[in-house]
């Protein structure tokens, strides 16, 4: 198993999610983050006060996958998150020691295998 961590542009999130869905990668966690890379600075002015925004808004995706899913996951993100400009982000692939599914106590391979979701209606 591996943990794929991707830092991507916020405006690319929807496209990446669609690409991952098409690649049949389902479970993931998404966090809005701020970061600093080589991206060019952005200057803003508020009532004569000029500021340089050193940190840029990014989104961090964490996806736990079984080994044979690593490549499709990475490929999907590479294709969907790319604009070609500096600031497109990074993908990290990390080894994972153990994974547990809290609901069932399932472990490792079973725990990263998605189950069919059931629709719910909050009527």
């Amino acid at each position: 198993m591996k943990l794929v961590i991707a830092i991507i542009r916020p405006e690319k999130v929807s496209e990446v999610l669609v690409a991952l869905y098409r690649a049949e990668v389902r479970g993931m966690t998404l966090t809005p983050v701020q970061g600093h890379g080589a991206e060019s600075e952005q200057v803003e002015t508020y009532r004569g006060t000029r500021v340089k925004m050193e940190l840029h808004d990014k989104v961090r995706l964490e996806i736990g996958v079984s080994d044979h899913f690593v490549e499709p996951t990475v490929k999907a993100i590479l294709a969907a998150a790319k604009t070609g400009e500096i600031g497109d982000g990074k993908i990290f692939v990390l080894p994972v020691e153990n994974v547990y599914r809290i609901r069932t106590g399932e472990r490792d391979q079973e725990a990263v295998t998605p189950v069919a979701a059931t629709a719910s209606d909050f009527e």
Binding site: E11, H36, T45
Partner: protein, 418 residues
């Protein structure tokens, strides 16, 4: 300086002072109505599209537009006798100071130009937008206002437009559709789900619009009299009807009453009663309000299935609502209430035809003139923001600000020239 000209009426003047302020407030309110429905990164830009009209369109109105609309001129366009506010003083225009009448009409020109922005949010470059709405007010709004209110050919024909169904709403909607089409869709349109960033903003804007609309409609009586009272009551009752009908349609279609739907319903009701406000009975206003929900509701559903990126549905709300209201004025107008003219239901079917002519003429002129204007501006200015600029957001790329800046990681720069 004349302080108390014989024909001035204190009550009328007092009411028109308040009405002018109320209608001026509608433009910021429209900014909040629209601003709630765009994405976070375009909040300021959308609000600014309304706010900036207060400056550029307002000044252009005072210096030139007012004369083009309300100068004598011919039946197609006003003259230049009021250029640079010449002779627009404190003498009575009706029963209120002429300068106040000019100011009241300015608030209409300002909001009409700002209405167009709903169709082109999240993509039109700001400088091109400023040039566009300023020239649009002079070239499109002022002539149409002259036709209907300035003694032009539609008023001679007998078209009934109490507070601006044709001049304001149909006019702005036709321009909105043309501009949205020429500009093209947002880069994410129909590819990504584009969700409203702040629905409470939209409800806040709706509430303030309704409040301001009492000045818009009841103020259009230009006096504190019975007709103003009628227009006021109708401006209250019609949107109530539309709100009920709209939420019922929502409930039947999706089994839920949506907040954006309620806001839209109220605005559609206000739009529809605008041409009829001082011409129909209160009971007719309720009927008009109830019925007005249907065409706009289904126009909105239809638009969502097309390729037309009229982003915030100016066509469905102001175009369809405006035409419906203008036609219903020709059906429900009642001389017993307004002292001016009857509609179809009161034995004057010709009025409905006149109303139709007024709608068609406004759509045709506004559509064609806007098309030419946008094309011309496009030869000088870049109209549309690049995909990249749209991706980053219009707030940062057009204004160099963010609506919700957090300040972490912001480094203070030395002031320019220091």
């Amino acid at each position: 300086m004349l302080v108390n000209t014989p024909n001035l009426n204190s009550a009328d003047t007092a009411w028109m002072l308040i009405s002018t302020a109320l209608v001026l407030m509608m433009t910021p309110a429209l900014g909040f109505f629209y601003g709630g429905m765009v994405r976070t990164k375009n909040t300021l830009n959308t609000l600014m599209m309304s706010f900036i009209s207060l400056g550029f369109v307002g000044l252009a109105w005072a210096l030139l537009g007012y004369s083009l609309a309300f100068g004598k001129g011919c039946s197609w366009l006003g003259g230049l006798e009021f250029l640079f506010l010449k002779d627009v003083g404190l003498s009575a225009q009706g029963t209120i100071p002429h300068a106040l009448f000019m100011a009241y009409q300015a608030t209409f020109a300002i909001i009409t130009a700002a209405l167009i922005s709903g169709a082109i949010v999240e993509r039109m470059r700001f400088t091109a937008y400023i040039v566009f709405i300023t020239l649009w007010m002079l070239i499109v709004y002022a002539p149409v206002a002259h036709w209907v209110w300035g003694g032009g050919w539609l008023s001679t024909l007998g078209a009934l437009d109490f507070a601006g169904g044709t001049v304001v709403h149909i006019n702005a909607a036709a321009a909105a559709v043309v501009t949205a089409t020429l500009l093209g869709a947002r880069k994410d349109f129909a590819r990504l789900a584009i969700l409203p960033q702040n629905v409470p903003f939209t409800l806040l804007g709706t509430g303030l619009l309704w409040l301001g609309w009492f000045g818009f409609n009841a103020g259009s009586a230009l006096a504190a009299n019975g007709i103003a009272g009628l227009a006021f009551v109708n401006t209250m009752l019609a949107p109530m009807g539309t709100l009920v009908a709209w939420t019922t349609l929502d409930l039947m279609r999706t089994r839920k009453v949506t907040a954006i739907g309620a806001a839209t319903g109220i605005v559609v009701g206000l739009v529809a009663i605008t041409p009829a406000a001082g011409f129909v009975s209160p009971l007719s206003a309720i009927v008009l309000g109830l019925l007005a929900a249907f065409p706009s509701y289904y126009a909105l559903l239809w638009r969502a299935r097309t390729r037309l990126d009229d982003s915030l549905d100016v066509l469905a709300a102001h175009g369809v609502g405006g035409v419906f209201g203008a036609l219903m004025t020709g059906v429900l107008a009642d001389k017993a209430w307004n002292g001016v003219g009857d509609g179809l239901l009161h034995g004057n079917p010709k009025q409905l035809w006149i109303q139709f002519v007024a709608c068609a003429a406004t759509v045709a002129y506004s559509g064609i003139a806007t098309f030419i204007l946008v094309k011309l501006i496009g030869t000088v200015f870049q109209l549309k923001a690049s995909d990249r600029a749209q991706g980053v957001g219009m707030d940062v790329t057009q204004h160099g600000e963010e609506a919700y800046a957090r300040g972490e990681g912001a480094v203070l720069l030395p002031t320019e020239g220091a």
